[in-house]
Symmetry: C2
Subunit: 129 residues, 2 copies
DNA sequence: TCGTTGCGGCTACAGACGTAATCGTAAATT
DNA sequence: AATTTACGATTACGTCTGTAGCCGCAACGA
């Protein structure tokens, strides 16, 4: 199979996503700063973060800008975009593209809080207008 | 030494999931029948299906029962269970465990049909009782 | 100026995944 | 009974992922 033309759209792995979250939170930042933000949590060392960052750069999900002799990293894709793609991927894979069954599923597995219900009701009213 | 018995909970890959879907649809069935159901779609050959089936058996996601000299495969985990786990995994990873933002996201990316809205409204009313 | 250090880049490597061919054996066929 | 066939089991292998070490250069301090 012909290797998909890289570029934005290239799949972002779980570990890479964790790095993206840091960048979405504060950017541009250096590799060291990214590490400060997650190395403890995920029990990673600096080299790991650097590898993930370079893979993200390859995938054109993250861009670099030289700051003096150092590099700062900044996301090239918006979080909302990523989140949208992933959400739709799940809905397609597990629920045949229909959102309602997902909702029912979350309801059944008690993953919906009262606050969620209220918020969703509000959203629904909004959309119905 | 016994590799920690990876009980059910062991991650199911994308390709493996496609096989699970077939089994959830009709089971118990033979490897050949699974292939009949998806090989064309996914452009797989029988060996591929058999490999996926044995990996699923290893992961204790699928069980076998000898039918004569052949084997029939049947899922050991319920679809709803799998779907629930995966849904919650996504909600946790992308939305900090809150379902409302997921809903908002789907709304924003226009992944919600009118039917979805109606169904969800019905579910909400149901849950509010 | 010259060594030290910090950082990006290249290399490494095991385990998971996608995909499939081959092997061994038991059943079906002749 | 011998041959063919049909499976499950074993083996293969390239890619992707997680995790990390080493190398070389540029900047900084002495």
């Amino acid at each position: 199979m012909a290797k998909r033309s890289n570029g934005p759209g290239e799949r972002i792995s779980e570990a890479e996503h964790a790095v993206m979250e840091v960048l979405w939170d504060r950017s541009p930042i250096s590799a060291a700063e990214v590490c400060e933000a997650i190395c403890a949590d995920r029990d990673w060392s600096i080299p790991t973060v650097k590898t993930l960052l370079s893979r993200l750069v390859q995938k054109e999900a993250v861009g670099t800008e030289p700051q003096g002799r150092k590099f700062l990293y900044r996301p090239l894709i918006a979080r909302s975009e990523y989140v949208g793609v992933e959400s739709r991927r799940l809905v397609n894979r597990l629920f045949g593209g229909r959102a309602a069954p997902l909702f029912a599923q979350l309801a059944e597995s008690e993953a919906l809080t009262d606050d969620d219900l209220t918020e969703i009701e509000a959203l629904l009213r909004e959309m119905r207008k």
